[in-house]
Amino acid sequence: MASSAKKLVNWTPTDIKADMLAKYPPKVARKRASQILINEALGNETPEISANVRTIPGIITMRGCTYAGCKGVILGPTRDIVNITHGPIGCGFYSWLTRRNQTDASAEGAENYMMYCFSTDMQDQDIIFGGEKKLQAAIQEAYDLFHPKAIAIFATCPVGLIGDDIHAVARKMKAKFGDCNVFAFSCEGYKGVSQSAGHHIANNKIFSEVVGENDAEKPGEFKINLLGEYNIGGDGFEIDRILKKCGITNIATFSGNSTYDQFASAHKADLSAVMCHRSINYVADMLETKFGIPWIKVNFIGAKSTAKSLRKIADYFGDPGLTARVEEVIAEEMPEVEAVVEDVRTRTTGKTAMLFVGGSRAHHYQDLFAEMGMKTLAAGYEFAHRDDYEGRQVIPNLKVDADSRNIEEIHVDPDEKRYVPRKTTEEMARLEAAGFKFKEYDGLIPDMDHQTLIIDDLNQYEAEKLVEIVKPDIFCAGIKEKFSIQKLGVPMKQLHSYDSGGPYAGFKGAVNFYKEIDRLVNSKVWSFMKAPWQENPELSATYVWE
């Protein structure tokens, strides 16, 4: 601690930024400078950051591709859709069970294809002569083997280049089967600038092909959708436990622990609660436009944030019984959380963290660190857009560039039969007048301290610099960054898939996280770096001299 405090005094954020840029060729330095921000947010003024822009060739990025965002992130956690990757074998292989999405398929007769990897394994003749026939045969084979309710097709890079019409194949097979929805995603890896484009492609397709397919009434009160929660390490299970305890009915989670039917019934909910703003805010908008379901931003990461989000949901429904139940649940859950955090805080207060992950987690997890008395010195997203940093007010002014233009925007109109405003205009106005905020997200920047560093698309070189200069007590990013950081003697926690453990959402999740961070930052292993003879190499010489 002493040494890190000293270093922080010596290095101003401006120095750090300059040092990170110093070695770059001029063009790279200029571009990166616009993505590295020293937080000078004051009052209502939020500084502008460059985000969702191209990665620089050769600079070792943390980012993945559109296919990864589409197949891996969004559709990966849904258990009863047969996901067929159309392409050479690799893409399907790497996205096979690697994200720690949990699912509960314990019900009698429940379908669960998540342990399976399906691929057309395209060969050179398929690239030369086209892969549509093989794709069609693969869909038929999957149907004959499993008779699933849905088959999804995912395009990899060469598919778009050779012009396979995967959508036509999907339509044809859907018509042929009659009892199996077949749909395709044009999520070639080269589209967009990061996996974010894949989230859009996936969500748009699920919205247009699946949402609204099941009009059957769903039982339960206070029906919500939980958007942008992927059940990594069981987060969704914990949130569902709390919601159930409060008497809130979760109709559909997009997409942790989800099923086809959940998506198909999402229009039956009366509120959309958005966790990960980046990956899914546009679906919340479309649900509102088409079906009349309002949306709010929530955050179940952090015990206080969880309580706040539950109260927000209760306020929306305005039911005294629900409000009372939510308060009871919070009162019941908090003592355990407080007991643990009080103990852990004795060992974590004053420690420092850096978070570079995702499109929301680098923001949400700051709440948990704050609860532990830890300070976030630097943070940024891997694939977020400017609105995730600066707030939704910048959306109308976002520039459409060559890369974002290629990502389909779907236009939605109110559904003639099923559009039902959930609240009257007066009710909405009353809620808003009382301070209730719909579709609001202020982004990461306003919540970070003055003079902290906010860096978009941080790369390996800059990460190493940051850690060497600032020596945080913990660094959070993904698996690719994990071990280069730890080699420097700084513990690293994956916040994409959590390495191991979880859940970290909700009340029990907060407890798990406090304990996990306590374990990491206070592990004895970080004191084992040097052997005794390396620590005191001169000892024998001293002895002889004496």
Binding site: K23, Y24, V28, R54, T55, I56, P57, G58, I59, I60, T61, M62, R63, C65, T66, G87, P88, I89, G90, C91, G92, F93, Y94, W96, T98, E111, N112, M115, Y116, C117, F118, S119, T120, D121, Q123, D124, I127, L135, A137, Q140, E141, A142, D144, F146, T156, L161, G189, Y190, S194, Q195, D403, Q460, Y461, G478, K480, F483, S484, K487, L488, M529
Partner: protein, 458 residues
């Protein structure tokens, strides 16, 4: 049940691969390139490929895996990735300062027909490659072969890109170890040193992907084949290529282009393959085998004889890569185990032929498939159960559903450690392997035996 939809009844599939027993070429090229000292692998394609390969290798080794990408966008995919590659080369040499960049292609850059030699040449002519630094490359289209092919192509790329035949032999022996673990590469070097031979091992990931935690991060660790050694490989007195699929291409290239005679051997897993390796190495290097190696061999024979009753007749299912499976099958058969179902995802009828020869000599016929998948393997197991399953981490779902003892072997191993530290090659590796197999089989006996029959001494 985790794999609850896998039926026992086997139906013909011509188009759908389920639970693949292979992955794509570029990851093999990346792994190989990490075994060159001071080398930064570079993936010429969209950034997802590089992210996936780095993630898979990182999870397998629990070590940093640095590699760069050309980060193709839609524009580059239409107009070609030349500008991206030249920019990447400049940025990499400026920021990371490697001694060599090893470029491999992807299905994306191959489909659009990017010409690597021409692009690399452009980078050199426009001064983006500093003096004394190198760019080597390999074409690794993902829609041909498998990760094994990509490994082989990059190893050949090392020879093509760096080996020089001066016409004066240097007395050294090239050993191309194939896709084995850093611990295996270390073991090959130890055995060669015991024989007093000066070898050039390439690639060599020992010290790179089984590193130490010291508080210091080096993007280019001490390990890896030195570039000077790769240059000198063209003047070696011979090459031992361990594995037809992984290593033979590079060895044959050195043979025809640099007149370095090559011997293609099996990977030295188990007694007989290690015997052939040591014996060939002795002859190529012109040296004798020290008693210390004969002693290690004797220890392996001793263990086989001591515990033979527990191996005898035990049925095994195996999935992995051709070179590894051939040597492993031979080893298991030699201790009277019975490999019953053998699947590799990599195509090639030569594989099936070799396995057939090995099991036929033992008097039985195994189920064998090149270009198969784990779904088929699981179905075979449902039809004829086995006592032991050997394969990568993905087998754990089969092992749990079918309740079979499971030995993690191959790539990737995502949920255990040890492969990076303890070898499978050589006699010591054989001891280590058999110890693990015995532990699995006897732990199962300890669990399942009736109380009256449970024994203290095995």
């Amino acid at each position: 049940m985790l794999l609850r939809h896998t039926p026992k009844e086997i139906t013909e599939r011509s188009a759908l691969t389920i639970n693949p027993a292979k992955t794509c070429q570029p990851i093999g090229a990346m792994y190989a390139a990490l075994g060159v000292h001071g080398c930064l692998p570079h993936s010429h394609g969209s950034q997802g490929c590089c992210a996936y390969h780095r993630s898979a290798l990182t999870r397998h080794y629990k070590e940093p895996v640095s590699a760069a990408t050309s980060s193709f966008t839609e524009g580059a995919s239409v107009f070609g990735g030349g500008a991206n590659l030249v920019a990447a080369i400049e940025n990499i040499f400026t920021v990371y300062e490697p001694d060599v960049i090893a470029v491999h292609t992807t299905c994306l850059s191959e489909t659009i027909g990017d010409d690597l030699p021409q692009m690399t040449d452009k980078a050199i002519k426009s001064g983006k490659v500093p003096d004394g630094k190198h760019v080597i490359y390999a074409n690794t289209p993902s829609y041909v072969g498998s990760h094994v092919t990509g490994f082989s192509n990059m190893v050949k790329g090392m020879a093509k890109g760096l080996a020089v035949a001066t016409g004066r032999k240097n007395g050294r022996v090239n050993i191309i170890p194939g896709w084995v673990e850093p611990s295996d590469m270390e073991e090959v070097k130890r055995l060669a040193a015991m024989m007093g031979l000066d070898i050039i091992l390439f690639p060599d990931t020992s010290g790179v992907l089984n590193g130490a935690l010291t508080g210091e991060y080096k993007m280019f660790p001490e390990g890896g084949t030195p570039i000077a050694d790769l240059v000198a490989s063209g003047d070696a007195i011979g090459t031992l290529a361990l594995g037809e699929w992984c290593s033979a291409d590079a060895a044959r290239w050195l043979d025809t282009q640099c007149k370095v005679p090559c011997s293609v051997l099996d990977m030295p897993f188990g007694l007989k393959a290690t015997d052939r390796f040591i014996d060939t190495l002795r002859m190529v290097g012109g040296t004798s085998v020290p008693d210390s190696i004969a002693f290690e061999r004797g220890q392996l024979v001793d263990l086989i004889s001591d515990m033979h009753q527990y191996f005898y007749g035990k049925k095994v299912a195996l999935v992995g890569d051709p070179d590894q499976l051939i040597a492993m099958t031979e080893f298991l058969v030699s201790i009277d185990m019975k490999p019953m179902h053998i699947v590799t995802g990599t195509s090639g009828s030569k594989f099936e032929k070799r396995i057939d020869e090995i099991t036929s000599a033992a008097g039985y016929k195994a189920n064998v498939k090149a270009g198969g998948d784990m779904f088929l393997l699981h179905q075979w197991i449902k039809n004829e159960p086995v006592d032991l399953l050997i394969g990568n981490t993905y087998c754990k779902y089969i092992a749990r559903d079918e309740d079979i003892p499971f030995l993690r072997f191959g790539f990737p191993i995502l949920d255990r450690v040890g492969h990076q530290y303890f070898p499978t090659v050589g006699y010591k590796g054989g001891l280590h392997l058999l110890t693990r197999i015995l532990d699995l089989l006897l732990t199962r006996t300890d669990r399942d035996e009736t109380e009256e029959k449970l024994e203290l001494v095995y």
